[in-house]
Symmetry: C2
Subunit: 177 residues, 2 copies
């Protein structure tokens, strides 16, 4: 199953930190790609640095001009869309259907999301019907999609690898070999 | 089970948005309280506004001076501590033990976390051993602690309540009754 993330409504400067977290979560929790509008250069540089050290060269950041035309193209190729919104159906009610998709786009908005996104999405899904955080919603959604397996994911091209420990920081540095 | 969140290492302005998300997630996903150092007033005002509309007056923001003395007090009253860190043991290996605690503090750091926190914590726990987001880590941790039940949590004192819908925004306004 191929999962990508679409970040929409990013506001320059104001949303930089949050969009960085969205991109980090997409990479760490098993996605292949994030689509976003043009954002501050620092976000791409930060991701490059993370990938250089912790692996994941397969992970792409794709800059798009318009989410509407991106989505049209996505759907024309048979891709499905999950839109995360506090107004949607509980993830646990629809997760079985979502897991059947081969090619999935998980859309997360920054500010208010245009009504059109509700209409073009195959699933409008809530991670709780309370206002909270698109970063948190994305994380729990991906955890459901991958049934928790994403938490033990290894990146083959990593220089650094953590040895999980109950009380200290243990890191293997493969680049020294 | 009583679950609180401790936010440490908040840096003024730089971390405001992220700390806001941490507080929103703590409230929305079933915690009773968040402890944090003094932060920008906007964070408290935003939480007040959310609670006023969406409920959760039981949820407290407690401003602390020092996380070290706060933790000492917490432990002296029999509370346990889960520290979320990418270096820790996989949450799924320790969740059964964590669920046995009556009174739990989930600690999330902003920047680099002092070594002392590893030592005083009962559980150093990773949500994947990859760098990502303390907001995402907190969300998945709470989802594991509450076994997903937090996603259907209702706030008795809410003015607004969402009726989950597959394709539109449906909101009940109780304050109009």
């Amino acid at each position: 199953m191929e999962v990508s993330v679409l970040r929409i409504g990013h506001r320059f400067v104001r949303d930089d930190r949050v969009t960085t977290h969205v991109a980090l979560v997409a990479r760490a929790l098993g996605c292949d790609r994030i689509f976003m509008n043009e954002v501050d250069k620092s976000i791409g540089l930060m991701m490059d640095e993370i990938i250089e050290r912790w692996g994941g060269r397969h992970f792409n950041i794709e800059i798009i001009e318009s989410w509407k035309s991106m989505i049209k193209q996505w759907k024309s190729k048979g891709g499905k869309i999950v839109h995360l919104t506090m107004y949607g159906l509980n993830i646990d009610e629809v997760i079985e259907d979502i897991r059947k998709c081969d090619k999935l786009l998980v859309a997360v908005g920054a500010s208010k999301v245009p009504r059109e996104l509700y209409q073009v999405s195959d699933f409008n899904v809530s991670i709780g019907n309370q206002p909270h955080s698109e970063i948190a919603a994305l994380a729990i959604c991906l955890d459901r999609i991958f049934s928790g397996r994403e938490l033990t994911k290894q990146f083959g091209d990593a220089k650094l690898r953590i040895i999980p420990s109950p009380n200290e920081k243990k890191v293997l540095n493969n680049s020294r070999n």
